[in-house]
């Protein structure tokens, strides 16, 4: 039996888990009503249970006390009995499908923000500021320590009374427990610090109090890091000692291991490894912990496909594999393995759109799966075949919007033709994948390619669509997703028309050879500008990336910009903020870029041999306006129906001719998720 190791049940405490795959705790940012696990929350997890997952540990950083604020990240609030009935709904939904559910509980100590809601004073063993959240804090007093220990016990009781299967004490990510562990932030000289036992005491008392409260039949685990990766922090050997210490108490049922600490921007990026990392980069740390403990060891971090999971489990490195982002991308991952549909698994590509939203306090969403966490709205993971008329659907453009539109329309059972003027699918994803360390983003296209082939979509690659070609197919519906072009014409003084500047697409697509001395001007500050600068530096160019915004790459999320910096600093890429590109002119065989300081108006010049401008995407609207008048709906999308996940009313209105919709960057520049979401919610009712 293929993937047999994944489907070996496992005993954790008194609990039997049906397979070796779990979704580890992550902050969802879905709890509402003061931190309750309401409908969206339950449906999000239920989908994983339906999909066959063994265990989900929900609620990353769910708080046990009101001075560990839950509001910033809409996390789950276990400081009140109000949570109990909500947990019962959650537990029922999971158990109904045979999955188990636990929750991570914590007091975050200094790792939070104080400037809102209850305006708490944050607490930490020695009052040392936390840099990622710029969080200052007080030194916690023994009375508060004992109070927080009691809060943990009560929170665990609420989880148990709510019918959950266990709790995971967070001692990772520099929460209160591991703040006490780490000599880097615990400078105390009283019984709560100093010696090894002193630093362990808080965690031990929490564990004792929790175990006393919930008894032996309830699962209690702990999530720890494998190595903080700070010279003054806890090393792997320290963590082995700590793990063995708590394991020896006999009060723990499992240990989850995360490689890397995360109280700096750079270490944070390790915790949720993006596409620049190799597979399972920190497995060795988890395996090291497993060497010294008796309880099962759980480990996530870049475990994305069943072959990888099987290899890890067969090797015996850990007892369960966390496939957390893998399940955000495809909650039916397990079911698809069991159905022999491994090729249909939508695999996580490590774009980290999910976690980068979470760190901004936004709900976790998947860059490529717009149904994830929208189950409660009726956005489907499995597109049911239409019972209505079979339609001829023509999609123009093979980028993310077009590919999703074609997929969904084909799943509905329609006859779908897709035009793409390039020789391959992918659109801007293909361009994005050309940059160093960004190749895996092309995994989004790979999945669509397989699905469109499976669904027999008529792919017309290398074929630009015009009105006649489209009309020839006698379409019932036309979906335009033909994107746009780099917006270089916005400032005529850049000299794009004279060839003085080139676009980031030209460089990444290989249409223009990299220069030797290059100025990249990036007004957008997202991935493309950083990618093209990194790409050029990688090809040996001397690169300066300049923006009129605060800093190049400033709009890139917290787990992704560090990996760009790691790549670009060693190549001596200069990153300059606050300068606007006024104009470019030629002087001999050189180009002169005139830059103006945003705040002083002072001008500077750069003499270079290539100027690359990243100024976003200008929609291509010609085809749309050529088709608009002839369409039954005049190209309009009914936004009320769209937002309510309802069918477009025009689909059922009688009439001759075609309906016309446009989605993605051919309307206005947004992002991959927006393109895919619009395609899904629009086409799911075709």
């Amino acid at each position: 039996m293929a993937f047999e190791a994944m489907f070996q049940p496992i005993q954790i405490g008194k609990l039997t888990i049906r397979n070796r795959v779990l979704s580890t705790a992550h902050a969802e940012v879905y709890a509402t009503d003061g931190g309750m696990t309401t409908e969206r929350y339950v449906k999000y997890y239920e989908e994983k249970a339906k999909g066959g997952i063994g265990l989900a540990i929900c609620g990353g950083s769910s708080v046990v006390a009101i001075d560990s604020p839950q509001e910033w990240w809409s996390s789950v609030n276990l400081s009140t009995d109000r949570i109990i009935p909500h947990f019962q709904n959650l537990a029922d939904a999971m158990h109904k499908h045979g999955a188990k559910i636990m929750i991570q509980i914590t007091h975050m100590g200094r790792r939070s923000r104080w400037d809102g809601f209850n305006w708490p004073t944050l607490m930490s063993p020695s009052g040392i500021r936390e840099p990622v959240h710029r969080a200052t804090c007080k030194t916690i007093e023994p009375e508060e320590i004992w109070r927080v220990i009691g809060n943990y016990a009560q929170a665990a009781r609420r989880a148990k009374e709510g019918g959950l299967d266990g709790v995971e004490l967070s001692a990772v990510h520099q929460h209160m427990i591991d703040q006490f562990w780490s000599p880097r932030v615990n400078k105390r000289t009283d019984e709560w610090g100093g010696s090894f036992e002193g630093r362990m005491k808080f965690g031990l008392e929490v564990l004792k109090a929790v175990r006393k409260e919930v008894g032996d039949d309830f699962c209690v685990g702990m999530r720890i890091c494998g190595d903080e990766f700070h010279p003054d922090g806890l090393s792997h050997e320290d963590m082995k000692q700590i793990a063995a210490y708590y394991d020896a108490t006999g009060m723990l049922d499992f240990i989850g291991v995360v490689g890397s600490g995360c109280d700096t921007h750079n270490t944070l990026a390790n915790v949720i490894p993006n596409m620049s990392y190799p597979p399972e980069p920190f497995l060795h740390l988890a395996a090291g912990i497993k060497e010294v403990v008796k309880v099962p060891v759980l480990h996530a971090q870049n475990i994305k496909d069943p072959n990888q999971a099987t290899r890890i489990l067969e090797g015996g490195y850990v007892d369960m594999v966390g496939m957390t982002r893998a399940h955000i991308a495809d909650p039916h991952l397990i079911a698809k393995i069991k159905m022999g549909q491994v090729d249909q698994i939508k695999q996580c590509v490590g774009a980290n759109y999910c976690i980068d939203r979470q760190y901004q306090g936004l709900d976790v969403l998947c860059i490529q799966n717009a149904a994830t966490s929208r189950e409660y709205m009726g956005v489907p993971h499995i597109i049911e075949k239409s019972t209505g008329p079979k339609r001829k659907v023509v999609v123009v453009g093979g980028g993310p919007a077009g590919m999703e539109a074609a997929r969904v329309a084909a799943e509905r059972g329609h006859d779908v033709t897709l035009f793409e003027k390039k020789d391959s699918l992918g659109g801007q994803i293909t361009t994005a994948s050309k940059a160093p360390q960004r190749d895996q983003i092309a995994g989004i296209t790979r999945w669509f390619q397989l699905e469109l082939a499976r669904l027999n979509v008529d792919l017309r690659l290398g074929t630009g669509a015009d009105v006649a070609a489209i009309q020839d197919l006698r379409p019932d519906i036309i979906v335009l997703a033909n994107g746009g072009h780099p917006f270089l014409e916005q400032n005529e003084h850049w000299g794009a028309a004279e060839g003085l500047v080139v676009s980031s697409w030209d460089v990444l697509d290989g249409k223009v050879a990299p220069g030797k001395n290059v100025l990249v001007y990036d007004t957008i500050c997202e991935f493309t500008g950083m990618s093209v600068a990194d790409y050029l530096a990688d090809k040996g160019a001397q690169v300066e990336i300049v923006t009129d915004d605060i800093k190049p790459g400033v709009a890139i999320g917290g787990t992704s910009f560090p990996t760009y910096y790691r790549s670009m600093y060693p190549k001596e890429v200069i990153m300059t903020g606050d300068l606007m590109l006024e104009k470019v002119y030629r002087e001999g065989d050189k180009l002169v870029a005139v830059l103006e300081n945003e705040y002083t108006g002072a001008k500077e010049e750069r003499v270079v041999d290539q100027v690359v401008v990243e100024n976003g995407v200008r929609p291509d609207e010609t085809l749309y306006y050529a088709l608009k008048e002839g369409s039954r709906n005049k190209g309009q999308v009914d936004v009320e129906a769209l937002f309510a996940i309802k069918p477009q009313p025009c689909l059922t209105e009688p009439g001759d001719g075609y309906l016309l919709f446009r989605i993605g960057d051919c309307v206005a520049q947004r992002n991959t998720h927006a393109a895919i979401y619009d395609a899904l919610r629009l086409c799911k009712d075709f």
């Binding site: 039996m1 070996q8 888990i17 339906k50 999909g51 066959g52 045979g98 393995i337 159905m339 499995i382």
Partner: protein
């Protein structure tokens, strides 16, 4: 002159026939002893012939009527001829009766002759093409010779010339029809066939009974050979059965391995056994060869090994390993010959004595011995598929209504979906059930069909000992192979149970209103009869009734019911994997596609695996349990709130 010649001819032929019969009888008796009811069998024979055998022949109306006329006419004519012409009882009425018999026979023989003008490939040629001429000659000769007896023609009409011609005709006729019966002509089928019916090794088959379980080897008897090495290792009545073959080729036409171009033709195999029992080569065989194996290269004798693993003997080993044990040949055989028994007997020798189970065979048998399952999976994982279902264990409950026999599909991800669906149905119907869990072992089906009788008996005895510890009313299984073995083959080893296929049980649950079912949504459906459910156990109705109950109108395949074509998965055939020109499941999928159905309902893990192995695009394959589980409705709430029946959430695993 005729009055002198005819008795001589008749009695000489009869005498020679009797001598031949004696010789033939002694040939059969070279086989090992078998317990038969000598007298009872003979007494029962006419009924077996006229009812049971006729029942099979009757499926082909043309042939049935032809045979009734020809054989009936012949028997009557022969008896009357002996009386009238042999004993010279020239009674006019007898004369007319003989004339009528000859006319009847002649009429029948004309139809035989007609069929022989463009005979289908399955029919043997050679002497079989001569037979209608002999029949016509016999009938015509006696007709003319009898006309004077009936007073239609004067005595001595035609003089010596006609007498000579008639004498030649009669000589030809009685040679074929009297001598031929016992000296190896086509008419041998009548003589051997009648005795075969009388002393059949599965007398239970007559009178509407069914007997399909393989017969156990007595492993404790040091004298009994371990299977059949040479023709004389068959029991004597098996040898007799081979001799009954009419070479009609109905078996050949039904055999999936033959159609797939694998080196098996059941008719040729039986004829090779006939060659073996008498000694000689297959050169005179006038039918289709084993695909890919020219005629004339094989020979054998009663005391010579049938298979030579290093060269050629009577039959090549791969011929024996091509069989899927689907019983289509046995089902079709108008002489009720037991092909599958013979093949397994010969496989037993190859496996038990020679260790020559081909391809993955040895590995599978080793796995069964070491791990109690053919896949070699860690036995501790037998219940992994249900880790989240909280299945009641029989070891804890001790006594239940239904023992759910899971089978080795427990280790197969695809079949786990079927099992889980069936559990859902059992739970929805509030059935008092349990599973054996880790106490269950492979039923022994594959081991037995691969000839490893020892491993079969070992597994069976262990299962029987386990089952003896508990109380249950019935065993239900989703696997027709386990079902068949438990129901029909454990009895001989002391295990007697009421065993039901899950389709039968679901039909009962539906009949007693234990299930609240919606209607199947989706496209059209056809149904594939598993061999071990249908032909082996006669269950054709329950699966169809269940499908009907969920709103499915089955689009039947041309080959369905007792004529269902095997999926290719039985008898260890996928394990021994003898190459052919095409794959059996591909052919079955063509049958399925011809119905235009979008989904094929199945009731067997082997069929599921074989059919799902056919490359797409092809119809979807679902077990009946999955189809039922999909339309389960939540029971109406017993409380005062009469909630409308709601559809269960789709379970994706």
């Amino acid at each position: 002159m005729l009055n002198t010649l005819l008795p001589i001819l008749l009695f000489a032929a009869l005498a020679l026939a009797v001598i031949g019969a004696g010789k033939r009888f002694l040939m059969w008796r070279r086989g090992r002893p078998a317990q038969v009811d000598w007298i009872g069998g003979l007494l029962a024979m006419p009924r077996r012939y006229l009812v049971d055998l006729h029942h099979v022949v009757e499926r082909d109306k043309y042939m049935s009527r032809t045979h009734v006329a020809t054989a009936g006419g012949f028997v009557l004519a022969a008896l009357l001829a002996i009386v009238v012409h042999g004993f010279g009882l020239h009674n006019r009425i007898l004369g007319f009766a003989l004339l009528a018999a000859c006319v009847l026979m002649f009429g029948g023989a004309l139809f035989v002759a007609k069929r022989r003008r463009n005979p289908p490939a399955r029919l043997s040629k050679g002497p079989w093409n001569r037979l209608p001429k002999s029949l016509l000659m016999f009938a015509a000769s006696f007709f003319i010779a009898t006309l004077p007896v009936a007073g239609i023609l004067p005595q001595g009409f035609g003089g010596w010339l006609l007498a000579a011609v008639l004498a030649v005709g009669v000589a030809w006729g009685v040679s074929e029809l009297f001598l031929g019966m016992t000296w190896g002509g086509p008419m041998k089928h009548a003589f051997a066939g009648a005795l075969h019916l009388a002393w059949h090794r599965r007398a239970e088959r007559f009178g509407g009974g069914r007997s399909t379980g393989l017969k156990a080897l007595d492993l404790d008897d040091p004298k009994a050979p371990l299977g059949v090495e040479k023709p004389s290792d068959f029991t004597w009545n098996q040898l007799l059965g081979f001799d009954a073959c009419v070479q009609c080729g109905k078996c050949e036409a039904a055999c999936p391995a033959f159609a797939a171009g694998q080196p098996l033709n059941p008719k040729k195999l039986i004829q090779d056994m006939v060659v073996g029992l008498a000694g000689g080569s297959d050169a005179k065989f006038a039918g289709s060869p084993y695909p890919g194996k020219p005629i004339g290269e094989h020979s054998g004798g009663p005391h010579l090994p049938i298979v030579d693993l290093n060269g050629k003997a009577l039959v090549d080993a791969e011929t024996l390993w091509s069989c899927t044990t689907c019983r289509a040949c046995v089902e079709e055989c108008p002489m009720m010959i037991e092909h599958v028994d013979a093949i397994v007997d010969m496989r037993r020798h190859l496996t038990l004595e020679k260790g020559a189970t081909p391809n993955k065979g040895a590995e599978v048998l080793d796995n069964l011995i070491a791990t109690d399952n053919p896949g070699g999976f860690a036995p501790g994982g037998r219940l992994n598929w249900a880790a989240d279902l909280n299945l009641p264990l029989l070891s804890e409950k001790k006594s239940v209504d239904v023992l759910f026999w899971v089978g080795d599909g427990a280790f197969d991800m695809r079949n786990q979906r079927t099992l889980r669906a069936f559990v859902k149905v059992l739970k929805a119907a509030n059935v008092d059930f349990a599973v054996l869990g880790l106490e269950e072992r492979d039923s022994g089906d594959v081991a037995r069909r691969l000839g490893d009788e020892a491993t079969f008996q070992q597994l069976a005895k262990r299962n029987i000992a386990t089952l003896a510890q508990y109380r249950f009313n019935k065993i239900v299984s989703c696997d027709p192979h386990s079902f068949h073995v438990l129901k029909n083959e454990y009895g001989e080893l002391g295990g007697h149970y009421q065993v039901l296929h899950h389709s039968t049980y679901m039909d009962e649950l539906i009949g007693s209103q234990k299930l609240h079912l919606g209607k199947h949504k989706g496209g059209s459906v056809t149904y594939h009869d598993p061999c071990y459910l249908g032909r082996y156990n006669g269950e054709y109705e329950a699966p169809r009734a269940v499908l009907k109950a969920i709103g499915i109108e089955v689009k039947e395949m041309e080959r369905s019911g007792f004529r269902s074509r095997c999926c290719g998965g039985g008898g260890g055939a996928p394990i021994t994997d003898i190459p052919g020109k095409q794959r059996i499941p591909d052919m079955r999928m063509l049958d399925i596609k011809q119905t235009g159905a979008e989904l094929v309902a199945v009731g067997c893990p082997q069929c599921t695996a074989m059919l799902e192995g056919v490359v797409a695009p092809r119809p979807e394959i679902k077990d009946i349990a999955e189809l039922v589980a999909e339309v389960l409705l939540e029971a109406p709430a017993p409380a005062k709130k009469p909630a409308p029946a709601k559809r269960e959430m789709a379970e994706v695993q």
